[in-house]
Amino acid sequence: MKLPYVEYEAPTTIAEAVDLLAEHEDEASVLAGGQSLIPLMALRLARPAVLIDINGLSELSLVAATDGQVTIGAMTREYVAEDSATVGDAVPLLAAALPLIGHEAIRSRGTIGGSLAHADPAAELPAVALALDAEFVVRGRAGERVVPAADWFEGYLATSRRPDELLTEVRFPAAGPGTGVAFLEVARRHGDFAIVGLAVSLTLADGVISDARLAFAGVADVPVRVAEAEDLLAGERPSAELFAEAARVATAALDPPADLNGSPEYRKQVAAALVRRGLQAAADNAYERQ
């Protein structure tokens, strides 16, 4: 369908955008890449009175490495992050996930901040941010607030961003030596939303797992981190038996939704297979990066 009538604002500074958000609050939607918001409007699932288009805020397009972190501006397009050597070197898990987002034409417009603020639980970037304990920087009239990923995702398409706040940047910790990663997903076609997706980061020190991170996409109304499996892996040596046990523990607590693409039982089976494969792939990658 054609888009419904909507007012349009195109601020040129962050302060101006924040003032507009404070003025319109729930009546406004922030327009970044538009690859989720525009379809929602076309389908009448979103009916904002005002669009606040932040494409003119050039200071929000950046990828910068600083003290063990990589800062990515909220308006950074997904293809720019995908092509970034900084992201490839320092945040390999993000680099692994980016090519799986939508299709090439979607990544031409879609943004890092847009995907994370939209917070679709089946999307790739929320699982990556949760696995890596990324930090979300939001700006309101009262100033800046930093929200850890664990507190960011509150429900289906819902985050802890307040209506008068703008997500300005996301900070990802840089991967050290010995950290291997994998992002795996099962989807009907390349580019479709994952039936189940999995972000894995595994750090090996002297052949022992010193840090393990697992976060699922597509199994609940938010991305899901599985601490029980992570704890089980820490301090152990990688093996097929260990990874099978981690898969059992990781999926035992899941209660995934049923839809056209699969039953809860099928999703759990896929999730278990992804844990086994993902851990093996991340371990292989960790040996390479040592």
Binding site: P39, L51, A105, I106
Partner: protein
């Protein structure tokens, strides 16, 4: 109404639009460039794909006002001296068309992809075109056409 000026297929064009008008509708209704097809209108089918500042984008997921100042190439911009471009000719030779509705989107997506990946193989092309839907399901001949174009461009 908001005034929008874009460069389309090398020419400067101006129109006056409501904010809610998509780039696809602006091209078709205001600029009479009806080669860009509108299918699903929510970013799933790929029929409306055009090239904006060198990147393939879905013109139904971009507002016309957001395209102000951009350089846009549509299907009408691919012909050279009134003849078919390399990709168009290769797709013609490979019978890559059935009803033709999805064709402009496929051609624009493939144009953007081949210009960035001239050495693309069959699997790469399949993935690159996976966001475009052909309801006649003539995918095989479309892949053949794009592969043939890639080969001809490399040999040229």
């Amino acid at each position: 109404m908001i005034e929008v000026t874009v460069q389309v297929n090398g020419a400067s064009r101006t129109g006056s639009v409501e904010a809610r008008k998509t780039l696809a509708d602006f091209l078709r209704d205001d600029l009479d460039l009806t080669g860009t097809h509108v299918g699903c209108e929510h970013g799933v089918c790929g029929a409306c794909t055009v090239i904006v500042d060198g990147r393939a984008v879905r013109s139904c997921l971009m507002l016309a006002v957001q395209a102000a100042g951009s350089e846009i190439t549509t299907i009408e911009g691919l012909a050279t001296d009134g003849g078919l471009g390399t990709l168009q000719q290769a797709m013609w030779d490979s019978h890559s068309f059935q009803c033709g509705f999805c064709t402009p989107g496929f051609v624009m997506q493939a144009t953007a992809y081949l210009s960035a990946h001239p050495d693309a193989g069959e699997q790469d092309i399949r993935e690159a075109l996976s966001g475009n839907i052909c309801r006649c399901t003539g995918y095989q001949s479309i892949i053949d056409g794009v592969l043939l174009a890639a080969q001809r461009s490399r040999e040229a």
